[in-house]
């Protein structure tokens, strides 16, 4: 028995009109030295002079246990099973799905069927997105968000039909839904073949390299301003901004160096987790308390702030100072005696500022959650946790990827899963690198805290 190299498979998904056929034609016509077998959906109309194009009716088969996670593409099993006997004719497989296809069964086929699993490996899922229409599609159909969620590469196509600004917004939305995917922009599906084929999508290192901020912590606030204030009364005023409400925490004795800023941020995260007190214009802002500033009335709104001893006050605001034109002024009578007609002089600029990676508003039900922890995990506990998690939440967990460190294993253990199915295998050696664990979940209505605390219990 020889250990044959498995044939890599790329799955191409995307709504009707997103440009799948254009991309497919481009891939097939380009000189890349690969002999590609294409399995086209029943509505496919690739008129190409290519040796191996096979039409397949999408037949999604549920198993007798009635679990939707255990669905496979029966037609693919048959077609790939036969293709295996012609291995000398091709070295790559591309599977195009219909616009409305749920990518789950296609991906699961490569995990569920023992024969397919032994001969083929899922290289990656490429989802084409029509930049002009995806916003509507995402609202209307589950398939559309599932196609985004499953992707390793999101090709944001037809970018010439929308403004740069809306492209940025769209890209941010897509990234929120799927933080694992690489986003590529194109006009007429004119992306290079290397960006869609031979991804080795499971190369998590590569994913991290591409998106260094991937696992940077997100905060519920976007901006911090530190003000040097003497004892007295102050006014915090705001212009109209993007929201009729903004939350805020004012911290006493906030240092300006990097370490103090991070410490302050961490303690503010905890304060932000507490319910906010609603303040109306004119109200006094308490220290070290989570408050919501009501900003519904027109014009500039003022809140007061009292400082008892001189020091550095930190304002951790939900939005940036720029968005609301946040200003801090001194209101003390003792000062106004000498310069009462020059209010502008009383404006106090911050001595330090910092903007944070903001926690996005997760409007979409579909999102991604990342867990990163140092140390080792207990294999048995992890297995028990994952088994339970996937049996309870497998329907909502579309994909899972990551690597784990076991104390007794010199190599990283890499994980990859689709719904309830997952595989794990040893990867490269840790060497001198410090042991850590990273898992990314993409799914619908995922409970981040539950996932993190569940994982934490597996740590040794």
């Amino acid at each position: 028995m020889t250990n044959k190299q498995k044939v890599p498979v790329t799955i191409l998904t995307g709504f009707l009109g997103s440009g799948k056929t254009t991309l497919l034609n481009k891939i097939l016509s380009e000189e890349h030295g690969k002999r590609i077998a294409v399995i086209e959906n029943e509505y496919g109309e690739v008129g190409i002079d290519q040796g191996l194009v096979i039409n397949a009716d999408e037949e999604v088969f549920e198993m007798s246990n009635g679990c939707i996670c255990c669905t496979v593409r029966g037609d693919l099993i048959r077609v790939l099973g036969n293709l295996m006997k012609r291995r000398d004719k091709f070295d790559y497989v591309l599977v195009e799905t219909t616009g409305l296809a749920d990518p789950g069964p296609v991906a699961q086929t490569f995990f569920m069927d023992d024969e397919i699993r032994s001969e083929f490996s899922l290289d990656g899922i490429v989802t084409l997105v029509d930049a002009a229409h995806i916003d509507q599609q995402l609202g209307r159909s589950d398939e559309s968000s599932e196609q985004v969620a499953f992707a390793d590469v999101l090709v944001l196509n037809k970018t010439d039909l929308v403004s740069d600004e809306s492209l940025d917004t769209l890209e941010a939305r897509l990234r929120d839904m799927n933080r694992m995917a690489r986003v590529v922009r194109s006009k007429q599906a004119d992306v290079s073949v290397e960006t869609v084929l031979n991804l080795g999508a499971f190369d998590l290192d590569q994913v991290l390299e591409r998106r260094p901020s991937f696992l940077e912590p997100e905060y519920p606030f976007e901006w911090t301003g530190i003000f040097q204030l003497e004892p007295g009364r102050y006014e915090v005023s705001l212009e109209e901004g993007p929201d009729p409400m903004m939350s805020l925490v004012v911290v006493a004795d906030q240092g300006t160096d990097e370490e103090s800023l991070n410490e302050g941020a961490e303690s503010c995260v905890r304060l932000y987790a507490e319910p906010a007190e609603l303040l109306h214009p004119g109200d006094k802002i308490p220290l070290n308390k989570h408050v919501n500033l009501q900003l519904q009335s027109e014009g500039r709104k003022s809140f007061s702030l009292e400082v008892e001893k001189s020091g550095h006050l930190g304002l951790f605001t939900q939005h940036t100072a720029e968005e609301f034109d946040i200003k801090v002024r001194r209101m003390d009578t003792s000062v106004s005696e000498s310069g009462s007609n020059q209010p502008n002089n009383l404006l106090i600029p911050p001595i330090a500022e910092r903007t944070w990676v903001a926690q996005h508003e997760h409007d979409d039900e579909v999102g991604s959650i990342a867990i990163e922890r140092n140390g080792n995990v207990d294999p048995e506990k992890l297995n028990a946790w994952l088994s339970q998690l996937l049996s309870e939440k497998g329907v909502d967990i579309f994909r899972m990827k990551g690597f784990i460190s076991f104390a007794d294993e010199p190599r990283r253990i890499v994980f990859q899963g689709v719904h309830m199915l997952f595989t794990s295998q040893p990867d490269r050696e840790w060497g001198n690198e410090s042991r850590r664990n990273q898992l990314v979940f993409i799914g619908r209505d995922l409970d981040e805290e539950a996932l993190q605390s569940g994982f934490d219990k597996c740590l040794t």
Partner: protein, 359 residues
């Protein structure tokens, strides 16, 4: 040293090297024709070969008979003609003797994956995606099924005018003369293979979810055998219908229908292959089972009524065994493999097995 007689009635060496040869591509189908005087082989490139049964000399050879690939072959019960089908949506009917084709049936754009002659040789059942056609040996269409809910994955004749079809979720029995459905057996699962017991009462199907599902037609009772590590695509009944051999992993699981079985009984397990089982064939008479594996090994087993058995001999052919076939007189066994290899062994059975099998 264990007494060699304990290893099996004849010990080792039951498979004696006969002849072997190689064809250009992955061998997909094989079978004996002309009363065992010819061995027919079809490969993935669409090559068709006939070898003289005893010597392995090439009788005739045809190239690229199906564009894309050859997918299926069925030899007529009289052995004088046979049919092939392929990715080109065609069925060709050939003469075994000289390899001349006098009939071509074009079904359209799509694959023809399964073919089966009826036991009396009057009809040829042809699977074309979600439809099944029945043709006469003259190529005339006699009957066509309604559209099945999914692609038909297997066909089998229960008698000369009754055809069973399997697809996702159901097995259907059609009277092809009266063009009516005789029985429909439903079960939510993807059925990937099907065999019928020789009397036609038991229907066994391998399922995608690693189980074997079967029904007794007379009582419409059904049962499910689970716990297979893989998909049991390979199924074989012995000629008495007493035991059902199943693949679905490295081990052959044999269910016995004696008494009230196989429900609630422990199956026999034949465990020598290292790779997953890829083909199973019972001898035409007696209770011998031949098995081939993805690891390139071939074994012959002597089975008992209760499904347990012992190996009589084995061989290694070096590549995934795609198909295996007993010569009509059971005195030779042929195996074809993924490297285009063909091996034929003389099989000398010095022990007495009842020619009627278990009965």
């Amino acid at each position: 040293m264990p007494d060699i007689r304990e290893l099996g009635p004849q010990g080792r060496g039951m498979l004696h090297e006969g002849w072997s040869t190689e064809v250009a591509d992955y061998v997909i189908v094989c079978g004996w024709a002309l009363e065992g005087n010819a061995f027919l082989v079809g490969d993935a490139a669409g090559g068709l070969y006939a070898f003289e049964g005893k010597s392995g000399t090439v009788l005739w050879h045809r190239k690229e008979v199906h564009e894309g690939s050859l997918l299926a072959m069925s030899i007529h019960p009289d052995g004088d003609i046979f049919a092939t089908a392929g990715q080109d949506g065609r069925v060709l009917i050939w003469k075994s003797k000289d390899g001349e084709s006098n009939k071509a049936l074009d079904l359209g754009k799509g694959w023809v994956e399964h073919l089966q002659w009826s036991p009396d040789g009057q009809f040829l059942a042809v699977v074309f995606s979600q439809y099944v056609y029945v043709f006469g040996a003259d190529g005339e269409e006699h009957w066509r099924s309604d559209k099945h809910p999914s692609t038909v994955s297997a066909v089998a004749w229960s008698k000369s005018n009754e055809l069973a079809t399997a697809c996702y979720g159901q097995v259907t029995f059609y009277d092809v003369l009266r063009a009516q459905v005789n029985q429909k057996l439903e079960w939510q699962g993807s059925l990937v293979s099907m065999v019928l017991s020789p009397d036609g009462d038991i229907v066994a199907c391998g399922s995608q979810d690693n189980s074997v599902h079967f029904w007794r037609r007379s009582t419409a009772q059904d049962a499910e055998m689970t716990g297979y590590p893989g998909k049991p695509s390979q199924l074989a009944f012995d000629q008495t219908g007493m035991v059902l051999a199943t693949g679905g992993g490295e081990r052959i699981t044999v269910w016995s229908f004696q008494g009230n079985g196989p429900e609630g009984t422990v199956p026999g397990e034949l465990d020598l292959h290292i790779g997953a089982i890829s083909s199973l064939a019972f001898s035409n008479r007696g209770s011998l089972l031949a098995s081939g594996s993805r690891d390139g090994s071939v074994f012959v087993w002597l089975l008992q009524k209760n499904g347990h058995g012992e190996p009589l001999g084995g061989a290694f052919v070096g590549a995934h065994v795609e198909a295996i076939a007993w010569r009509p007189d059971d005195c030779a066994l042929a195996a074809v493999n993924a490297n285009g290899g063909i091996n034929v062994w003389d099989f000398k059975n010095r022990i007495k097995t009842s020619p009627k099998g278990f009965s």
